[in-house]
Symmetry: C2
Subunit: 334 residues, 2 copies
């Protein structure tokens, strides 16, 4: 086995977020489901952007946020995702590298179509209740494919972390499958986030198959877990997951998280205190960052979960989905 | 005289800010003077961007911020500045329009050179003391010229507000002169901000000439005023300005502002309270927005100055140089 260069390799969409405040009426008028993520096309991105208020831009993407969080804890982390050779691609590349994440932008020529599609952006509307509603225009990010997964990078990473969002795209799905298979073959762990309850709805059978056979560490919030097992309650769903993957990290917003192991352990982790919840974007991504940071440095599951709570609390206390302070310093204070 | 469509027409650089935290050592290492603005070239923008931490992007530009502030107060305002047909240009255009400002992006073809230069960006480093240090890469914004000043727009605006920063660029300077002359000829008022003490250093003789003969309403902070008159103290400099323009709004950070009129009035306006100063970027721009909002709706100078204090206090309480809340609502609360 190759020497481990990275604790975690994260694979996901490379997205720049465009964040703005909006009211419930705006969401309704544009047919958005609050709290969800929808993929939008070229027409919709112009229509929604044209209608929304002034925004600010910050790098995002679920797995990218997790990678930035792991780096902020001091972990060694790499990211695979696809940006174009444009200004938003430059922003994404700068931000993730400046956060301390290893990232080689995949040459835009590899999309094979000249001028080609642009870097992905996600129009995020934050309502007064701090909920985020996401509208993702994937652009070149949706062109991620198996060839973009560097086998050497996978082999040199302890954990490969994949975002469920990529399952919507056939080529990107194959990229994830390749990364998962390579990780398993090389003795690495496979971590996976269900991403979004509607995403789970679209791919339930395959996600169940993944949870049972390919995933070592599963991340799911309440809606996602209930959607996966189609149960009447979260408790029932949690019973199901126990028989599946090695570790399931089940997040429950302000109620913290429950970590369930294949061995039958069930560990409850409280949420960390937050003065004011400003924007819930990235809460799950940063919980995963904290948990994986603790897990890869050999902390027990409860302690790893507490780092997850800490990172989630930091990111929901401000606008934007990546940490604004050093999570390593924050962790040292508690 | 044409009917007034706009209370204020603002003319300035169209810039997207890239904002990041930095420490004093970073400024020293890169030879930056804290609190100042320097123009940087292509090499420097890559070198500084490559070295700085993860950032977030938000539309800026001095006069653009002022325009957004006036719109936030409910004023009718237009902006002239130059963006390219690129992603940052789209961001700038979206944000200023979404703020309620009239803005027609000048066709990039008018730069006359094919692929052409990109939309301006300003790398802003915010230190722990909330001071901002700015590094501006002008790109296409520096190509603003007299042809870009629409005489009809000037004629239909009560006040033309110009930023001193443009004086660094010969063509842009001619654009300002044209806008000022058209405004004066049409019975409009000319407002001007000195922008930056180093900028005043570079153009002292011309700025003195402007203050004496072309400018009706002058905005200057302490360093700029002292630099303009080369006096040992702010008090002495304030004596000089009294004999020059019709109204001089002299800002003094936490000490508020002093408004001096040609008639010999001297009005002291306190600063508005701020819980925590986070980022001073845009303080002067938003003071000007508040003052001009009050002035154009016929408030007395003290009341107009208080709106300036209010807007400045809002913008320095968060990262980014444009208001995050409705200034009209904020003003209604006091």
């Amino acid at each position: 086995m190759t020497e481990q260069a990275y604790d975690v390799l994260a694979v996901g969409n490379a997205i720049v977020d465009v964040i703005s405040h909006a009211d419930e009426a705006f969401l309704a008028e544009h047919g958005m489901v609050k709290g969800s993520m929808q993929l939008i096309d070229d027409d919709a991105v112009h229509q929604i952007y044209g209608a929304m208020g002034p925004g600010f831009e910050a790098s995002g993407g679920s797995a990218g946020n997790t990678a930035a969080g792991i780096a902020s804890f001091g972990g060694r982390v790499a990211f695979i995702g696809k940006v174009a050779d444009d200004q938003l691609g430059e922003v994404f590349t700068h931000d993730i590298r400046a956060a301390g994440v290893h990232f080689d932008p995949i040459a835009p020529a590899s999309t094979g179509d000249g001028a080609g599609p642009v870097t992905a952006r996600c129009l995020i509307l934050v309502t007064d209740d701090a909920q985020r509603t996401m509208n993702t225009y994937l652009g070149v990010s949706g062109r991620l494919g198996p060839d973009d997964v560097d086998a050497t990078l996978v082999a040199s990473s302890g954990v490969v972390y994949c975002e469920g969002y990529l399952w919507d795209l056939p080529e990107a799905k194959q990229a994830l499958v390749k990364a998962m298979d390579l990780a398993a073959a090389g003795g690495g762990k496979v971590a996976f986030t269900l991403s979004d309850s509607f995403c789970v709805d679209r791919h339930r059978a395959e996600f169940l198959e993944l949870a049972e056979h390919k995933v070592d560490i599963l991340f799911a919030n309440e809606a996602e877990l209930v959607s996966l097992y189609q149960t009447g309650s979260w408790e029932e769903a949690a019973e199901h997951v126990a028989g599946h993957c090695e570790i399931a990290c089940l997040t429950r917003s302000e109620h913290g998280s429950v970590i369930i192991t294949a061995a039958g352990d069930r560990i409850s982790v409280p949420a960390a205190p937050v003065d004011q919840v400003v924007d819930t974007t990235g809460a799950g991504d940063l919980y995963a960052a904290g948990f994986l940071s603790g897990y890869t440095r050999g902390l027990d599951l409860a302690a790893a979960g507490r780092l997850g709570s800490l990172a989630a609390a930091e990111v929901i206390s401000h606008l934007g989905a990546r940490p604004e302070v050093s999570l390593a310093e924050l962790a040292a204070e508690i």
